[in-house]
Amino acid sequence: MAAITTAPGYHEEVDPNASYLENKKGLLSWLFTLDHKRIGVMYLLSVIIAFTLGGLFALLMRAELLTRGRTLMDADTYNKMFSLHGVIMVFLFLIPAIPASLGNILLPIQLGAKDVAFPRLNLLSYYIYVFGACFGIYSMIHGGVDTGWTFYTPYSTSDPAHGGVGSSSAVIPMTLAVLVLGFSSVLTGVNFIATIHKMRAPGLSWRRLSLFAWSLYATAIIQILATPVLAITFLLLTLERFLGIGIFDPRLGGDPVLYQHFFWFYSHPAVYIMIVPGMGIVSDLIATFSRREPFGYMAIAMSSIALALLGFLVWGHHLFVAGMSEYATMVFSALTFLVAIPSGVKVFNWIATLYKGSISLQSPMLWALSFIFLFTIGGLTGLFLGMLAVDVHLHDTYFVVAHFHYVMVGGTVMGFFGGLHYWWPKFTGRLYDEKWAVAGWFFVFVGFNVTFLVQFLLGSRGMPRRYYDYLPQYESLHQISTVGSWILGLGFLILAAMFVRSLFSGKPAPRNPWGSAAYEWLTPSPPPTFNFAKDPVFERGPYDYQVATDEELYDGFDDPLFPEKGVAEGEARA
């Protein structure tokens, strides 16, 4: 399979040996770039801004809950805080975070391709994302929404200005923002599927595809199949609000529970859009930092696909107390449990990979191991919620909040940061200070658990979610949780400082700082515009540690754990 040349006019005036950061300079060369790495970096910057904003809202919320009654803000402000926290984290961070940023940067390199299949579409999808974000900001300035990220009807559709009983009119720009963001997500998905099918370098069979690439493939399937349902739902919502067509609002003859079916038909699969790429990263990290081919490679790859497909069949578990027939609840409960099987398969195979590996606990690996621990807890508490009788008690309490934070933060965010640490030297060409990285990880890990472990208890003791105020018996647990959020915040602050410092004064990264056999480490850091100086032909798989030569694993090796020694040794070797 010959490498396909990308869009016409794209290949001219590119020096095949200069790094993608050096080929062409200036702001415009970034804004109009077709290079997947540059687009990925712009995405990365954007999702990190979104993450920071969403995180600030979370800190404010937790601060408000420090004491009973009013602590910082009134109830309406608090309600907007948690809604914006949810909307921003889900739609501007979690969904695009891994595929559009790290996926964009890494996927073509891992395939030995020059770029994604449709570079222009890639840039378009970025600008659609920005455009969607602008809608969101517009809505925030015009009062913001207080509906939660779920926009349940009739609260979200009946405008009080027209005799309705619900929320302010800023809801519409916000749902439109989400609708627009959906297009960006679909385009990325289409692009990745085409890229994986068509752009693999010679020698790169499906069985040699990296597990990260497999996970992006599974994610892309969900993005393409699920997102249109959300778009249709929000269009119906808008029609109802503007034209008074009764779809969801019972006053107009609609059915509010229908909205919940539509919404979760997208939003449950969306959970897999968020978590599956994180699982892909973890699979790659465990292989690299155990220097061992993943145990059950095919099982891990196929479990991603299984999750993608099963994810479409379980949306009803969000509606167990909303008014479904007993028969439907039974079916959805049973199907929900099925999701546990591929998730379990992944965890077991990761652990089996560690067995007889050569394990190094460098910072990316710490994030990967945290992923395994936290995701296990997130998954098991999901079983609580799948059990019908138990869900009745726990639904819409802090238990659910804790559960999905263990999955979304313990899973996706851990995966994202693991990947960021792992590939940072590759795409910035800089090393970072390992000691600060470990310190940051430590505070995040501890802070996260302090914040959310107690929320399981809050929930099982009956504390409902989305509450501005609470009864006295919940106060001490809320306080522990708030203190945890500060530790968590401190951890992220350390990481931010550490990465910024690396950009300005980090040591130049060698080609393969971790001694990994994966393909992206065969090319210089940062890679040239077309990823490899000459079109690669792959003779071994990305996890073939038995075949990879010492030279491939060690070229320019500089152990970030022991920088001084590493450099000295490197010099000695040279």
Binding site: G69, R70, T147, Y155, P160, A161, G163, G164, V165, P250, D255, P256, S290, R291, R292, E293, A299, V321, G323, S333, A334, F337, A340, I341, G344, N349, I351, T353, G357, S358, S360, L361, L369, F373, I377, L380, F384, M387, L388, A389, V390, D391, V392, H393, H395, D396, L457, P464, R465, R466, Y467, Y545, A548, D550, L553, D559, F562, K565, G566, E569
Partner: protein, 334 residues
């Protein structure tokens, strides 16, 4: 008689027959998860400890690699099949407890529950509605839920019951209280500004006490207010104003303030006998009839500047006596 008891440190005291099945299922999955999580974490830590890379190898320039990865299909099948068996058990435990809890007992006493922003009302038959849920211990109940505006959710942690109250639909919860004591009804589905204040008290009472409640319910009590004083018409109005959660929108004593900021609804103190500007530009003279209409059909005349907040209609929430009392109270506010 059984007193409410904390069955575990994780769950609130169990006060109804619906608690035991859920608690059984909860503890089952809890211990299952603990064992599983401890195993996963322990094995991971063990492997990390045992197969930790020798730091020195990186300086020797020789790659220390993991062992070749064998293909073990039997193992893959094992850890697919065993969890499948587990989840069949989990599903069964959760489902049978659920079916037990959604089935109402024969001859259960029916109570109508009205949810609206941001209060609960309970009707025991006879028209009057109470802001508290009074139940007799060991008597089966069936609650019929409905909502007058957005979706709310009826949740009593001590009973382990939860059900959404959806506008335009009826839904049900059934249970038999088994222990005398107090609990709370929470609203578990987000419903706007005062979602977290949408609470009601639950009183599970001995039969004699419950009889007493039903007999006096809807009539002017002897004592009212906190601390209780002799109940005049206005005093009764004042306690109804609190009971019906009017203060959540109009401020305590109708002073138009809530936690330092203006309340969602207009100030009521001092409006009686004055002219009130309306949204449509006209004005209205505030007298008994207007106040009555404002409470029963608030949308008939909207106060200027309040088009964006909805006061829920209270038609049906008050007996005539109660309404008189509330009007007398508003009249008395200066």
């Amino acid at each position: 008689m059984m007193q409410p008891q904390a069955s575990s440190w994780q769950l609130p005291p169990a006060m109804a027959d619906t608690a035991a099945p859920m608690d059984g299922a909860f503890h089952f999955i809890f211990w299952f998860s603990v064992v599983f999580a401890v195993l996963v974490i322990a094995v991971t830590l063990l492997f990390i400890q045992k197969y930790r890379r020798q730091k020195s190898d990186q300086r020797s320039g020789k790659a220390e690699k993991g062992a070749p990865t064998p293909s073990r299909n039997k193992l893959e099948i094992l850890w697919t099949v065993v969890p499948t068996l587990f989840i069949i058990v989990l599903f069964h435990v959760g489902f049978s407890a659920y079916i037990h809890n959604v089935t109402a007992a024969e001859g259960a006493t029916e109570i109508r529950v009205f949810a609206k922003k941001w209060s609960w009302e309970f009707e025991y038959g006879g028209g009057a509605r109470s802001p508290d849920l009074h139940l007799e211990v060991n008597k089966p109940y069936k609650l019929i839920l409905s909502s007058e505006d957005v979706i709310h959710s009826f949740f009593i942690p001590e009973f382990r019951v939860k059900r959404d109250a959806v506008p335009g639909q009826y839904s049900f919860v059934a249970f038999t209280p088994t222990a005398v004591g107090e609990a709370h009804v929470f609203c578990a589905e987000y419903c706007g500004t005062n979602h977290s204040a949408m609470l009601a008290k639950v009183f599970v009472e001995e039969p004699a006490k419950h009889e007493e409640f039903l007999a006096s319910f809807g009539r002017k009590p002897k004592l009212c207010g906190t601390p209780p004083v002799e109940c005049t018409e206005e005093k009764w109005g004042e306690s109804l104003f609190t009971e019906k959660a009017c203060f959540t929108c109009h401020g305590t004593g109708g002073d138009g303030k809530l936690g330092g900021s203006p309340s969602p609804g207009p100030k009521l103190a001092g409006i009686f006998g004055h002219d009130q500007p309306l949204q449509d530009g006209s004005t209205v003279h505030v007298d008994e009839n207007y106040v009555r209409e404002s409470i029963l059909k608030p949308n008939a005349k909207i106060v200027a500047g309040y088009a964006n907040v909805q006061m829920p209609p209270f038609a049906g929430s008050f007996t005539d006596d109660q309404l008189e009392a509330v009007i007398a109270y508003i009249k008395s506010l200066k």
